[in-house]
């Protein structure tokens, strides 16, 4: 199977180029396995991040034939040849398929992605009904792979001003948590034309999320809560 992979090492390359590889693929093989095979058998300089190999750590987000996804859960059999592999778009490249995620993480940290409880904690668990807990399904499972944010045009244009779908999904995860006591501040923090409202509901993020999460819906829910608050 033929692969065309983006290569760039600022140490030695004046500019990025595309390199072709031919790999013997087996039935059922995932793209990550094909990349590892290239690295092990053909070219140890090919660089990418990886860890769990099963879609839970979020290391290996990349652009595969034009769409962002995780290499470890993308079967090669489903891909059109030659498979074109590029780094996640719109953010700086460190080397080959490895991108600089700092802005993405910064936006995540900026939404205060942690439970805030001001009351004294009980000796046991804070109670939460199964229904209240269910509101977190589809929000807490995010693996911070950045597939969504780097496929979002609004994030490409204003990565430092628009939070991006991943960070907003996290904001929603805490806004929806019945135990959290900072809802009002969280909503206030997202006001203004950019942080939240730059989302134009283009839904790219939903299409690419490898965990099947729906940042657009989460963003909509935040907007609804904001409106409800100002009424």
């Amino acid at each position: 199977m033929k692969f065309k992979i983006y290569r760039f090492n600022p140490d030695v390359d004046a500019k990025p180029y595309t390199q072709e590889y031919d790999v013997d693929v087996q039935p059922g093989m995932m793209l990550l396995a094909a990349l590892l095979k290239i690295k092990d058998e053909q070219d140890e300089t090919l660089s990418f991040r990886r860890s769990c190999g099963e879609g839970v750590c979020g290391s290996d987000g990349m652009n595969i034939n034009g769409t962002n996804g995780l290499a470890c859960v993308t079967p090669v059999a489903e891909l059109k040849q030659p498979v074109e592999i590029n780094p996640l778009p719109g953010i700086p490249v460190i080397r080959d398929l490895i991108v600089d995620m700092e802005q993405f993480y910064q936006n995540y940290r900026d939404v205060k992605p942690y439970l805030i409880v001001n009351d004294p904690m009980p000796e046991v668990e804070l109670p939460q009904t199964p229904e209240q807990r269910e509101r977190l399904d589809g929000l807490y499972e995010c693996i911070l792979c950045a597939c969504c944010s780097t496929q979002c045009p609004s994030f490409w244009w204003n990565p430092d001003k628009f939070m991006g779908p991943a960070a907003l999904l996290q904001a929603s995860r805490f806004i929806e948590d019945s135990r959290d006591q900072a809802t009002a501040e969280r909503l206030a923090d997202l006001e203004g034309p950019f942080k939240l409202f730059r989302c134009h509901t283009i839904m790219n993020c939903v299409e690419v999320c490898p965990k099947g999460l729906n940042p657009t819906k989460a963003i909509g829910n935040i907007k609804k809560r904001m409106v409800a608050r100002t009424l």
Binding site: D40, E54, Y114, V124, E125, T129, R133, E141, I143
Partner: protein, 586 residues
């Protein structure tokens, strides 16, 4: 060495999995300056993959108490666990869970609003009676939920993170006191000396030793090997857990929670095979027991398909239960097998999963080594917690759900001891320049160019040797060959070269350093296994099928200089009566 960048902190933590992050949070909240070094961004650490849950006797679903939990853990360990540490862990468990909940972990809930608990293997009420339900779960994504919440609280506490830094070796002075570590920034290759009054190893397990494994590619036993090279022997490395239900041929884990929710194993004849091996506990017997049962079925010709696996049946649970309680493994089966467990059974086989052995510590997380007549003398400034450590609460066989508990309880305990240590030691000791030089040599060794073997070729051989010679069933002859082969492989390490000499995100260099670490762990595992002439827990010898408490109720210690040594098991708990060894039936 004067030109190497230096940073100074009160406390250094190597590893940002659950163990490292729990310790970091405790330290940051106590206003200690703490640096966490991790070779991957914290939420990519392997804790994120833990599925089924974490044990604590909350008694939310069925009656329970910590003393029953303690009994099960001692029995599960095949009496090789240290009972003081086990008592400490089981007593601390409920608090550890409530703390996590307060940090934000989205545990699944019961109708009355309390934390959901499911049955797991090896759990009983009343010291060996009815099945207990002790495992606190966030669906089947408990590790993800815990790791993310801990990272989030560390953001809040403003912990210093050195993300994507690779720790190379420990630095110590001539008296043996640990003064920090040498690491390098993977982004630009720049080395950095991190000086600290205390160093905590929280580097996780060595599951990459085996060809088929449930473990992430980053689980290469780095911390264990760093300890070995610093002269600390590794404890009980022969005890490697094979999880009964890895997806056959692939290795992805199907959590024990699947059997906890009511799933069961069948062989080619459609029999519920565990009825034969564990009439009472059946599919929820201890992991070593279930793994041996599956391996035996396959060996005796009752395997399914090509004869090399058995089936895990879940479809009778109904789609609702599967989607609510086991959504993650359902997705994994669909992705990797094209099988929906709500409709068809899953092919499974015992798969390398967990390193019971590791860096020896006491229950305060202090690393302990034999000095003259004392078997357990603390190494000043050095701590270890989590899968890289051996406290030992798991002994010869870990119970499912006890590792997340272990990393949290002992991550916290180590931090508390460190806080005390910091109170008594206000100043950094002077750095030892020799020690830096040695560590730099190890790093610079990979700048040698020219013809040589490749990292991947040697690594492939190492994993094959471990799988063939140190697996579920072992015997003298197989392991003798294993020892010979791995010694030969270790010698060949000197001839390995990497062609990639760039300083920018050089993953080839990282893999080379990881291979060295794996090799050290492999040597420790194979040698310790070859020497232990009995069957206990996960170490199962066909030629010595019985447990031998007279000779072998003792911990192995393997060091690079002196080979094997042994020390007694701590059979005396803190406050209750000791559980004496008994035959282990489920």
């Amino acid at each position: 060495m004067a030109d190497i960048k230096r940073r100074q902190f009160d406390s250094l933590i190597i590893g940002a999995g659950g163990g490292g992050l729990r310790a970091a949070l405790q330290l940051a909240q106590a206003d200690a300056s703490v640096a966490v070094v991790s070779k991957v961004f914290p939420t990519r650490s392997h804790t994120v993959a833990a599925q089924g849950g974490m044990n604590a006797a909350l008694a939310n679903v069925l009656p329970d108490n910590w003393h029953w939990h303690m009994f099960d853990t001692v029995k599960g360990s095949d009496y090789l666990g240290d009972q003081d540490a086990i008592e400490y862990m089981c007593r601390a468990a409920p608090k550890a869970v409530y703390e996590l909940e307060h940090f934000g972990v989205p545990f699944s809930r019961l109708d009355n609003g309390s934390i959901y608990q499911r049955p797991f293997g090896g759990q009983s009420q009343n010291f060996g009676g009815e099945q207990a339900a002790r495992t606190c779960a966030a669906a089947d994504r408990t590790g993800h939920a815990i790791l993310h919440s801990l990272y989030q609280q560390n953001i809040r506490a403003k912990t210093h993170f050195f993300d994507e830094y690779f720790a190379v070796d420990l630095l110590k002075d001539e008296e043996g006191q640990v003064l920090g570590a040498l690491a390098f920034n993977i982004h630009d290759g720049e080395p950095v000396i991190i000086e600290a009054k205390t160093t905590l190893m929280a580097t996780g397990g060595a599951g990459q030793l085996y060809r088929t494994t449930t473990n992430a590619l980053i689980n290469t036993g780095d911390g264990m090997a760093m300890a070995l090279r610093a002269g600390v022997p590794l404890q009980d490395m022969e005890f490697f857990q094979f999880h009964p239900t890895g997806i056959a041929g692939h290795g992805m884990l199907i959590t024990e929670g699947a059997r906890g929710e009511g799933g069961y194993l069948v062989n080619a004849d459609g029999e519920r095979l565990m009825e034969r091996y564990a009439p009472k506990a059946k599919d929820l017997a201890s992991r070593d027991v279930v793994s041996r049962a599956i391996a035996t079925e396959v060996r005796e010709g009752r395997g399914c398909g090509d004869g090399n696996h058995v089936m895990l049946k879940l479809d009778h649970l109904g789609e609702d239960v599967i989607q609510k309680r086991l959504p993650g493994i359902r997705q994994t089966c669909i992705t990797f097998l094209g099988i929906d467990p709500a409709e068809a059974p899953i092919p499974v086989f015992p798969t390398a999963h967990y390193t019971m052995g590791g860096i020896p510590t006491n229950r305060y997380g202090q690393v302990v080594v034999p000095v003259k007549d004392t078997p357990e003398e603390p190494v000043t400034g050095l701590y270890a917690a989590g899968e890289c450590a051996c406290v030992s609460v798991h002994g010869a066989n870990r119970l499912g759900g006890n590792s997340l508990l272990d990393i949290l309880v002992f991550g916290r305990a180590a931090a508390n001891h460190i806080i005390e240590h910091l109170g008594e030691h206000r100043y950094h000791k002077p750095m030892d320049e020799n020690s830096i030089e040695q560590a730099m040599q190890r790093l610079n060794r990979w700048q040698q160019t020219g013809e040589g073997e490749s990292v991947s070729a040697l690594r492939t051989e190492l994993k094959a040797v471990m799988e063939e010679h140190c697996s579920v069933f072992r015997n003298e002859q197989v392991m003798r060959h294993g020892v010979e082969k791995i010694e030969a492989l270790a010698k060949r390490l000197d001839d390995v070269r990497i062609g990639d000499q760039s300083n920018i995100f050089n993953t080839a260099r990282v893999e080379a350093l990881e291979l060295e670490n794996l090799m050290n762990c492999g040597l420790a595992t194979m040698h310790s296994a070859y020497a232990r002439e009995e069957s206990r827990g996960a170490h199962s010898r066909i030629d010595f099928p019985e447990r031998d408490d007279k000779q072998w109720m003792r911990h192995s210690l393997y060091s690079l200089e002196n080979g094997l040594d042994y020390k007694p098991v701590r059979t005396k708990p803190i406050s209750v009566d000791s559980f004496p060894p008994k035959p282990r039936v489920y």
